[in-house]
């Protein structure tokens, strides 16, 4: 039996990306768990922001909604959506975690429709919410998701939130704030980043027991492989202890096994 499950691994890996003194805009679920874990371990002064207006809460437990009272519990400020998004626009927010039904090789995300035709979709999804705002305006966008051919697709049905758009300089030329963009993708099989010139997704580490081929087999487009591909460091005992006992004691996110 494994000492940890893949969700615990993803949360631990994501939390290590958040350094002390940085700021992160999060939603509910796994990203929130990663931010809380970072704050309780190596990044006590991590600034956490929620899109509905919560600034620097002392999170007592994980919020159910990004606008519920937990999201501004003992916070520095219970502000407005404009307070959060204008801070993102001015360059105060270093990281954000986003998700979607589909992601392509440039990190473009779809959370709007499944299907070929906008007006007659197979499935209508929520749309941008705050995702396009965060993905456009935060310095570094990250994604935590399961590695799966239906999610990692050649072409997303709809670009809800900008990644590197068509790669190369296309994001730079789009008018979006300079130097913003997708940074790392943390999956249940490994960690991926984006090759600096082409902006194509690239595997930089594989989770214990897996290979580059395993990841490629669970991806709908051709992946690049970093020169010195590493093995993802599994969660430490300390990370697991804090995650299980303090961050998610009811195991809403990390599950039962």
């Amino acid at each position: 039996m494994n000492k940890y499950n893949s969700m615990e691994l993803m949360i631990a890996v994501a939390s290590r990306e958040l350094e002390d003194g940085a700021s992160v805009a999060v939603g509910t679920g796994a990203p929130c768990a990663a931010a809380m874990l970072a704050q309780k371990l190596h990044a006590p002064s991590l600034l956490i922001l929620f899109e509905a207006g919560g600034i620097d809460p002392n999170l007592p437990e994980m919020p159910i909604s990004v606008g519920d009272s937990r999201s501004f519990y003992q916070a520095s400020m219970a502000g407005s959506m404009n307070d959060i998004m204008s801070a993102c626009a001015r360059g105060f927010v270093d990281y954000t975690f986003l998700g979607g039904a589909q992601i392509d090789m440039y990190g473009n995300l779809n959370s709007t429709i499944i299907g070929d035709n906008y007006s007659t979709p197979k499935v209508r999804l929520p749309g941008s919410g705050g995702a396009n705002d965060f993905g456009s305006l935060c310095w570094r966008m990250m994604v935590m998701t399961n590695q799966d051919v239906r999610r990692f697709v050649q072409k997303v049905d709809f670009i809800t939130t900008p990644g590197w758009l068509e790669g190369g300089d296309s994001r730079k030329n789009s008018g979006l704030p300079l130097d913003t963009g997708p940074y790392k993708i943390v999956t249940d099989m490994g960690v991926l980043d984006f090759e600096p010139d082409s902006k194509r997704m690239r595997v930089i580490s594989v989770n214990p027991g897996l290979s580059f081929t395993d990841i490629q087999n669970n991806c709908g487009f051709e992946l690049l492989c970093a020169k010195n591909i590493g093995e993802t460091k599994p969660p430490t005992d300390r990370e697991l202890e804090i995650l299980r006992n303090e961050v998610d004691p009811y195991r809403y996110v990390i599950g039962r096994n």
Partner: protein
């Protein structure tokens, strides 16, 4: 200023600042008693075809009692600002009261899942949609509040969200940079749920403001539902606590627990059990028909709805949850 690109989405409202000023010129500036029943307020101020904005954040300090009332009064052809729209939209979808939506967030209930009822109606093709983002709808309210025809912003460029919006990308006259423009949005009516209000419409609430201050200022008519009525002298003894001033407001409705089954900061937590029951009931058309009859159409008031779902005992339980009293138990 050169327009470089235009979204192909339809604009559902008029961004003209002088048309808005002409309307606001006609609004009363008097301190008048605006207290009325919720049903009377909806009857008087929200008409078929109006464009509606809803305060709060989906199921957080949202005027959910008012959403039930709109469905009971069978409003039709409303425009809707789909801003952080979760359970509020899920209720409105029951009556198919809207036929056009400015989309920022619709159909879902965050981590709780997607509403089958909202999805089915949206996917039916009977609803016109234009895409935006949560912040850009807030920015559109802000443009209206400032009475400027549009606001520049820097998101959404390069995406299909832009392509299906009614935004434009221009060359900035100062920097030459590509800049997004979003038009002012003046809802005909907005409904906002607050903790306290006086009979004139001065409002107080605690917690995050989301986009409610911008929404209240942008709207031609504002209906307030309030947990508590307070005296005008109470307002005047702490004027710094007033978040919405009376002259923006057209109706004040005293609706205790008016945000149920959502969260009201410091008062009650969301009734997750009931929200789950709602989502599950949507899976079966017969079950759902009974469910909405029981919970919306057969209810005379919001009190009646709450009584059918646990009444005051349920609200006492949700208060404990909201205040996290379980954390105060001595270990």
């Amino acid at each position: 200023m050169k327009t470089l690109l235009e979204g192909q989405g339809q604009l559902f409202s008029n961004p003209d600042p002088d048309d808005a000023r002409a309307y606001f010129r006609t609004k009363s500036r008097r301190l008048e008693n605006k207290e009325m029943d919720l049903s009377a307020a909806i009857e008087k101020h929200l008409h078929d075809g109006d464009y509606l904005g809803i305060g709060g954040f989906g199921a957080n300090r949202s005027p959910l009692a008012a959403c039930h009332e709109i469905v009971r009064q069978r409003r039709q052809n409303l425009g809707l600002a789909g801003h952080t729209a979760t359970h509020d939209m899920q209720i409105l979808s029951v009556g198919e009261v809207y036929d056009r939506v400015d989309v920022a967030y619709i159909v879902g209930l965050e981590a709780r899942g997607l509403s089958k009822c909202s999805r089915k109606y949206i996917e039916s093709g009977k609803v016109k949609l234009t895409e935006w983002t949560n912040q850009l709808l807030a920015t559109r309210f802000q443009a209206a509040a400032l009475n400027v025809p549009f606001m520049p912003a820097r998101g959404m460029m390069g995406t299909d969200t832009f392509r299906y919006s009614a935004a434009k990308i221009v060359e900035c006259p100062y920097t030459g940079k590509k800049t997004l423009l979003v038009p002012a949005l003046y809802p005909d009516v907005s409904i906002i749920h607050v903790h306290e209000a006086d009979i004139y419409g001065n409002c107080r609430f605690t917690g995050i403001t989301v986009a409610d201050l911008e929404l209240a200022a942008a709207s031609k008519r504002v209906i307030i539902t309030t947990e508590k009525l307070i005296s005008n002298s109470e307002i005047r003894s702490n004027p710094h606590l007033t978040r919405i001033p009376y002259f923006l407001v057209d109706a004040v409705c005293h609706v205790p627990f008016g945000g149920y089954p959502g969260t009201m900061p410091g008062e009650y937590f969301s009734d997750e059990e009931h929200l789950k029951e709602w989502l599950t009931a949507e899976n079966n058309p017969d079950t759902f028909k009974d469910f909405v009859n029981k919970n919306i159409y057969e209810c005379k008031t919001h009190q009646d709805y709450i009584n059918r779902n646990g009444g005051i005992e349920k609200m006492k339980h949700l208060r404990k949850q909201e205040l996290m009293l379980h954390r105060e138990v001595t270990p």
